[in-house]
């Protein structure tokens, strides 16, 4: 690594950010002959943004490959996306991304990333998603190694404070490199700096003091400063600024960077109550892979942004183990006390639920016929009596994955200005523009697909502009 960034030269391409989208752009631009400078806000050990916490990417494939089974074609992929977004997407751009996803695993493999067949605990995604051997950090390691081998200049601990963007034309950036304020020059810029989910004050604008009870699942560096700066300088926004994707996280998780292992999968096999011991949603509405993504929002809407899953020892092996041990007690009242809930109220809630449970045949992996009758809200599947001590409980908080607000881009990943024209030399890839396609909901592994596809487009476009 070089000691300091050269401020007296003009880089062909400046890449802002250090995750998969940024690296895909940087490597593509460098391979096209451009000189590339990549600036990562995080220190080296936390490099890679949210890519560090990922595990796979969703890829179209007409037939089995060495890491993907069967086939996954455009129409099914599009249907899956349409369903999760509820139509909050851009069909032409989404289809372009879906078609390009066929080549994403090959590109990543050429960057040194290794894939593995999926084995267990992966929500059964081996047909649609290619898994990175070792997960996202291994991917990030391989891509940085490739970037450095290709001669891309990489600087960690380097924050881009603002881009020198005027009239849709960018000529460089004001940055802070390891504490030193610098101005650098570039012919083209790719921003891949993520969402703003780690920016508590920004979230507070919409959510008020509830944000103090939110957890950030991924990188604490997703502050959205580049996004905010560009929007202020005339870039067009896309996506709902108030919304984020969130899952049910263990309430005992760290405030940020807890990663995937903080999520709790116990909901379908439990009842979930708020802090007043009231149920608020059908825990057994659908299989967990199709429902896990709504529970973060549901918990965020409860008083105190907290909820408690309650079940018994029968269910203990029906879901993935948790990092923090379950709270256990020999009685429901005892469990309530251990979790700080009103014992009488919780016992009454469990008794009411048990009375509504109808006999059925339990099938943990499929929509079974174990349901309640006369209960509001109902539990429509996997409803079994909660009667076998030790009783088991988990406190849950919303764990935010990413925000939907982003930069509007065109099919070449060029950032659109508020006046409707595309910028000539400013490109975006990754979470910072994912809202163009993913306006709501989430499809497992699609974030990495968007990052790789648009990273390549952005890198190619930026290099082409700079080299002309």
């Amino acid at each position: 690594m070089k000691a300091m960034i050269a401020t007296d030269r003009v880089y062909d391409v400046l890449v802002v950010g250090g995750g998969n989208a940024a690296l895909s752009a940087a490597i593509t631009a460098r391979q096209a002959g451009a000189s590339v400078l990549l600036l990562e806000h995080a220190p080296k050990h936390l490099r890679g943004g949210n890519s560090r916490h990922t595990r796979n990417l969703r890829a179209l494939h007409p037939g089995p490959t060495h890491v993907l089974t069967d086939a996954y074609l455009e129409e099914e992929y599009w249907d899956d996306l349409l369903r999760v977004t509820g139509g909050h997407t851009d069909e032409a751009m989404a289809r372009m991304c879906i078609r390009a996803s066929e080549h994403a695993p090959g590109f990543l493999a050429s960057c040194g990333v290794t894939f593995q067949p999926s084995l267990s605990g992966t929500l059964s995604l081996s047909r649609t998603n290619a898994f990175f051997l070792g997960g996202g950090k291994a991917l990030v390691n391989a891509m940085y190694r490739t970037a450095e081998r290709l001669g891309i200049e990489v600087f960690y601990d380097t924050e881009v404070r603002s881009l020198l963007l005027e009239e849709g034309f960018v000529r460089g950036a004001d940055i802070t490199c390891r504490g030193w304020p610098l101005t650098i020059n570039a012919k083209a810029v790719v921003v891949s700096a993520g969402g703003f989910q780690a920016n508590v004050e920004w979230l507070r604008e919409t959510w008020g003091d509830a944000v103090d009870n939110f957890q950030i699942r991924g990188t604490p560096y997703a502050m959205g400063n580049v996004l905010k700066d560009l929007l202020a300088r005339g870039a067009a926004p896309v996506g709902d600024p108030s919304q984020f994707h969130a899952v049910a996280n263990d309430a005992r998780a760290p405030k940020s960077d807890g990663g995937l292992a903080m999520r709790l999968d116990c909901v379908p096999f439990s009842i979930v109550v708020d802090r007043e011991c009231r149920r608020f949603y059908d825990e057994g509405e659908d299989v967990w892979p199709k429902r896990y993504a709504i529970w973060g929002r549901l918990i965020a809407q409860q008083p105190g942004q907290i909820a408690y899953a309650v079940t018994d020892s029968k269910a203990a092996r029906d879901f993935m183990p948790s990092v923090f041990p379950a709270i256990r007690a020999d009685t429901v009242e005892g469990l309530a006390v251990a979790m700080g809930l009103d014992p009488t109220a919780l016992a009454a809630r469990v008794a009411e639920y048990n009375a509504a449970v109808r006999p059925g045949t339990f099938k943990g992996m499929a929509l079974d016929d174990c349901r309640t009758e006369g209960l509001e809200p109902p539990k429509t599947h996997w409803a079994r009596l909660i009667d076998t001590p030790p009783f088991v409980g988990y406190p849950m908080r919303p764990g935010i994955t990413f925000t939907y607000l982003g930069l509007k881009v065109d099919h070449q990943a060029r950032v659109q200005m508020a006046d409707g024209r595309p910028s000539a030399n400013l490109f975006a890839s990754g979470e910072i523009m994912a809202g163009n396609i993913l306006g709501r909901g989430y499809l497992a592994g699609f974030g990495m697909t968007i990052g790789t596809v648009f990273g390549r487009l952005a890198g190619e476009g930026a290099a082409k502009y700079a080299r002309n």
Binding site: H45, R52, H53, R55, T114, Q116, P117, L119, S120, G121, T122, F131, L133, G134, G135, G136, K137, A138, N141, A142, R145, P254, D257, G259, L260, A261, A316, R317, M320, P321, S322, V323, P325
Partner: protein, 362 residues
């Protein structure tokens, strides 16, 4: 297995890993982990001895230090293995030698070499000791065959018994049961090929987050080099006993060829593994085990190099000294076999057999 600090730390980390499971493609440890929800000290000893130290899981870990979760499975398992060697050792009091294993191995090696040398020099006439000997039985004029074979045989047999008892202790502690021929054979193939040092087919993080095959290949060189040397000794015993052919043998004879190739393999392997230990990223390494590992690699290197030098200079007056040096290192090796890093092979093999048994059941 008693509850040591490393056991507690391994349990904490396995409970995190079991909720994450990103590393399941690297080796046998993580799929074996997913078969469990709670981890007894015996379970953790089994998983730790199944771990080959490829370090893939450390470099891929989103929870590795300085993350607050501080997950560092290779270092923790390495420390736990050391504790388990102490626990399973026979006779029991000898387990304590694993606490300062570097010092013990170094000291025993030096003492063995010095004592064999001094005893031989005191006993043999200097003219014999420093004389050039040729023809059949040349070595035995310095140290008689019976004495040589007797001491080596006795120390080696004791080592085998002590290690076998250790393996039985390990086996009982990790769940007992009877291994059928199929898992035994598969476990043997796993250890002979070091299948788990392939990192899921792409190599290991021997140096840093790069994938290389260095550790696996160097270990093969050392292991198969050692096996060739052992074969050389066995063939020589047959020559001597049944064919009446006494050492030294010609350079192109089978025992000498096996020993030469084996000795070179051992030298390359031991040198390379020492080099790897020096240059590797120290973060996923348990410092407490390094002393014992360096000392044993050093001893293996000496065994190989003194053997090769003896071969080169066996017709000269230096033969007597070189022979006692070589035999001193070999004696030290046999004595230390059950009380040094060398036991890892026995427990690793048993863990791999158990792993194959578990897979069949799962």
């Amino acid at each position: 297995m008693r509850e040591t600090e490393a056991v507690g730390e391994a349990r904490r980390q396995m409970e995190i890993c079991n909720a994450c499971r990103y590393c399941e493609g690297y080796c046998a440890v993580f799929p074996a982990m997913t078969l469990r929800r709670e981890f007894s000290s015996g379970d953790l000893s089994y998983l730790a001895n199944l771990c080959h130290g490829c370090k893939g899981c450390y470099h891929a870990c989103q929870y590795a230090p300085p993350h607050a979760f501080g997950v560092n499975v290779p270092a923790t398992f390495s420390a736990l293995r050391q504790d388990s060697y102490e626990d399973y050792a026979w006779p029991k009091p000898m387990g304590t030698v694993f606490r300062r294993n570097g010092s013990v191995v170094a000291l025993v090696s030096i003492l063995a070499v010095v004592l064999v040398t001094l005893a031989t020099m005191a006993w043999r006439d200097p003219a014999v000791f420093w004389g050039a000997h040729t023809g059949p039985g040349a070595f035995y004029r310095v140290i008689p065959w019976g004495l040589m074979a007797g001491i080596a045989g006795a120390s080696f047999l004791f080592a085998l018994v002590a290690m076998a008892i250790g393996v039985v202790n390990f086996w009982r502690d990790t769940g007992g049961g009877t291994a059928r021929p199929a898992p035994l054979a598969e476990g043997a193939i796993d250890i002979l090929t070091l299948a788990n040092l392939s990192g899921g087919g792409h190599g290991c993080n021997d140096l840093d987050d790069r994938f290389t095959g260095a550790k696996r290949h160097l270990h093969h060189a050392l292991f198969y080099g050692f096996a060739l040397c052992f074969a050389s000794t066995s063939v020589a015993t047959v020559y001597d006993h049944f064919l009446g052919l006494q050492a030294p043998y010609a350079f192109w004879s089978l025992p000498v060829l096996l020993g030469t190739v084996g000795g070179i393999g051992m030298t390359v392997g031991a040198t390379g593994l020492i080099w790897l230990k020096i240059v590797t990223d120290p973060a996923p390494v348990a410092k407490s085990v390094l002393g014992g590992e360096y000392a044993m690699l050093g001893l293996l290197w000496l065994v190989a190099v003194t053997g090769l030098v003896l071969l080169a200079a066996r017709h000269t007056g230096a033969m007597g000294l070189l022979l006692v040096l070589h035999l001193g290192t070999v004696l030290a090796f046999f004595l230390l076999l059950p009380y040094s890093k060398m036991v890892h092979g026995a427990y690793r093999g048993a863990a791999l057999v158990r792993n194959r048994m578990e897979k069949k059941r799962a």
